[in-house]
Symmetry: C2
Subunit: 480 residues, 2 copies
């Protein structure tokens, strides 16, 4: 176990310093690296493979619900950005400006897209004619730039990868239905793929997207008790379609502005994945998203046909559709390998040595529980598939349990304010709905209203932050 | 056939005005649209689906040969761009510069990546340690910006989508092997997926990538007799690895600079696809890349169970893995639909009416030849698959025949110079290898040396452009 220590030593325990634990895990695992441009990250192959997994899962769901992909220009003229008032106020302070093309100064500055509502609405206004053309169900996968002062890889960076859906509908109800349908796809990405439980609900007006009628969100709880906004879906009403004069001839033969939605998930989800499941040995990846689901490590591999058996198992797992690796490297010790793959969060490790050959079995170790199990070579691949399946479900349950244990109900605001401990996790509170209470909460505690959850409870008739009548039960937390 | 005329009228015949034919085809088919930023295009769903097809095919081949995807920042500091002399001279005149982030002026300008050698080499220099880490086989899918004066959608735009591979190797030979291996993958994308035959070979020093040791290319011939550079693979030697001080400890325990390659294909391939196969009715798509391979059009659909049969065929084709659509719209006439799908280039149209039900058959029309064939409902899906398979092969053969008929051998340079007709298509010529001849050819004829093909022929011992000894047989052509 000597080698074990070396790896563990490299990762700061999360209890000691959570941000350092996070940084250690992402850098040691080569998920990401800092780039020479401040706030911009390089996503390395192991990190990018996680993004490819999220893309594949979400893209399939988008397409199954009738959405198609497009691509809009990276650069947006300043005059377009300025068309929707709230939008430009929200985004102008954080955009990167292109002022020169080649050696020439441009007549009009272009911003690197922080999001694409404006340019997409401009094009939609050219294309849309009749209610027969609706709905418009389009999406794009791309990178966006938002000049951030304080950055952390995956969680908040000046450039990130995402998808942005932009749809148009004949009626308000259809736009609302779309907004919630997408939020549910996002919930599936979080819960079914990433085993990351989320609270779904509506954002307060203060926290909604710049230019939105209403913003819906999914919020996850990290190991350190902070919340992460993991994906948002906006009902934009007619704010943009009026500003951009998008019109269609309706069934009544009159001109109308369509209703509009936009929605996005990003590489930020990878940060959430790490902070929901990781431990002091490193990453812990749910099987469905893991780029490698099982690694086979032969021990004393030149003896008794160990290597041959390992190769045979490798083939049979591969045939079962399991993403498997065989580590037959002879330079590193088995112990070194065990720790290496624990750090990388591979869901299953399969150890096979001379005695196992004799006994027609191998040792299987689950990353989430570190439990060891002897598995017979008979029906081996099926059994591994079963373990992967249970592990996916168990990881979601474990994360859900952690969230429940860290979801509190406010008793009184003064207690909440004075206790740092109370501020860890989600806290349910009643809120009158006014901006003053929301601002006060943020200023006095650093916590914010994460969402008005769909699943409401009546904790009290009085707002916890003032004496007015309560309108909503909300989740509050400090957030990334 | 009245409806036919309307569609055909909208597309300028290619014999009349080829550039207008091209523009008509891409706009009427909604593959692309112009954006409010000059030279930037919007790729619409039907065009983007073609790109997704190319991505899926190429990405699988890259991964099967050991490559992994990453993502590097969009913005590159000016100081990094300046590190490799030839590279900066080649690219600086055409980059877009970011000078402000939010409201602050940046201390150093950042360029929007025109290609990513510089930032990737910067990162590689941080990561690489030992020969044991090699090869580095990485790729990224992204968009790049190159400020172009004259643009045409897909063919030359100020922003385009592409992939850029960047690999490092221990030896020159391994880098050269990689360069050619990728060129062959590109050839497969062109020929096996897009049915677009290509000539493969080496670029002259004048035409090579800025900073490359040698550039390899695939060149295709368009309908109008102009060539299109459809993909390039560069052996970069140690130019960048020395400039960026990328070093590794070799087997000899000494420091070395690795050998380096980069390679790319882009949305330009879609322009080639259109100009190789299209006709005066519109697009003609090879089955493997076609987003929709077959469309079923029921005629008099409410009678004799026509619609039910159409639905049954739809299901059976879908089960066979055919990308199929059923057009049961009742507002448009069958004739309108026939012409619409011909314009869209769907490989197969299936017409089914009351008499067909009686005769247990349907009429199948191939888009490439417009040939009609009666196909029995017995074994229908298998037969459609067979037709799609032959069509893919036939389209490649047809394009190859067109290229062969338009590949000439130069007799003497004066004749070539004086005849516009001679300049159509590829012309094989002998070349001494000197820059003066190459410049003269370009200046006097508008044609350029497209490549020194791998398949050499000895047409003469004397250079066709001067009196010196010939070194290479080259393909010359006017090019996009």
């Amino acid at each position: 176990m000597g080698e074990n220590k070396d790896f563990v030593k490299e990762i700061t325990p999360m209890e000691v310093d959570f941000p350092r634990w996070y940084t250690d895990v992402i850098l040691k695992n080569e998920l990401v690296d800092y780039s020479p441009v401040k706030g911009f990250m390089v996503i390395r192959p192991y990190g990018y493979a996680l993004w490819e997994g999220i893309q594949a899962f979400a893209d399939e769901k988008f397409k199954a619900t009738g959405h198609k992909n497009m691509y809009f220009p990276l650069l947006i003229p300043e005059s377009l950005l300025n068309k929707e008032k709230e939008h430009v106020e929200g985004f102008a302070p954080e955009v990167a400006w292109v002022t020169h093309g080649g050696s020439e100064e441009l007549a009009e500055r272009l911003c690197v897209r922080p999001t694409s509502e404006t340019i997409i609405c401009h094009m939609y206004s050219k294309w849309l004619n009749s209610y027969r053309d609706l709905p418009y169900l389009y999406n794009q996968w791309c990178s966006v730039v938002r000049w951030e002062k304080t950055t952390r890889p995956f969680l908040r960076t000046s450039e990130f990868l995402w998808q942005e859906g932009h749809t148009l509908h004949e009626t308000y109800d259809e736009a609302q239905e779309e907004t919630l349908k997408i939020l549910d796809i996002y919930r599936q990405v979080a819960e079914d793929l990433l085993a990351m439980p989320v609270v779904v609900g509506k954002k307060s007006d203060k926290e909604k997207f710049a230019g939105a009628e209403s913003t819906y969100t999914m919020e996850a709880l990290m190991h350190d008790g902070q919340a992460l906004q993991a994906g948002t879906s906006h009902n934009l009403g007619q704010h943009f379609t009026k500003a951009f004069e998008i019109k269609f001839l309706g069934r009544d033969n009159k001109e109308h502005n369509p209703y509009h939605t936009s929605w996005g998930i990003s590489t930020r989800l990878i940060g959430g994945l790490i902070m929901v499941h990781g431990d002091n040995r490193g990453l812990v990846l749910p099987p469905r998203i893991a780029p490698v689901q099982a690694v086979i490590i032969p021990i004393a591999m030149k003896k008794f046909g160990v290597l041959e058996k390992a190769e045979e198992l490798f083939k049979s797992l591969k045939e079962q559709g399991i993403r498997v690796e065989l580590d037959d490297d002879t330079k590193e010790s088995p112990g070194w390998k065990f720790n290496q793959y624990e750090m990388k969060g591979y869901p299953i490790r399969i150890e096979i040595g001379p005695r196992d050959i004799e006994n027609n079995q191998a040792m299987v170790v689950r990353r989430d529980t570190l439990e060891k199990e002897i598995v017979s070579f008979d029906g081996f691949a099926e059994k591994i598939n079963e373990i992967l399946e249970s592990m996916q479900g168990d990881m979601l349950k474990k994360a859900l349990k952690h969230r429940e244990e860290n979801t509190h109900t406010i008793t009184n605001y003064e207690d909440y304010k004075s206790s740092n401990e109370a501020k860890k996790g989600f806290t349910k509170a009643m809120w009158c709905g006014c901006r003053e209470c929301e601002d006060k909460l943020k200023q006095e505690t650093g916590a914010s209203i994460r969402c008005i959850p769909f699943q409401q409870e009546n904790l009290s008739n009085i707002c916890h932050f003032c004496d007015k009548e309560a309108k909503h039960m909300v989740y509050i937390a400090r957030a990334y």
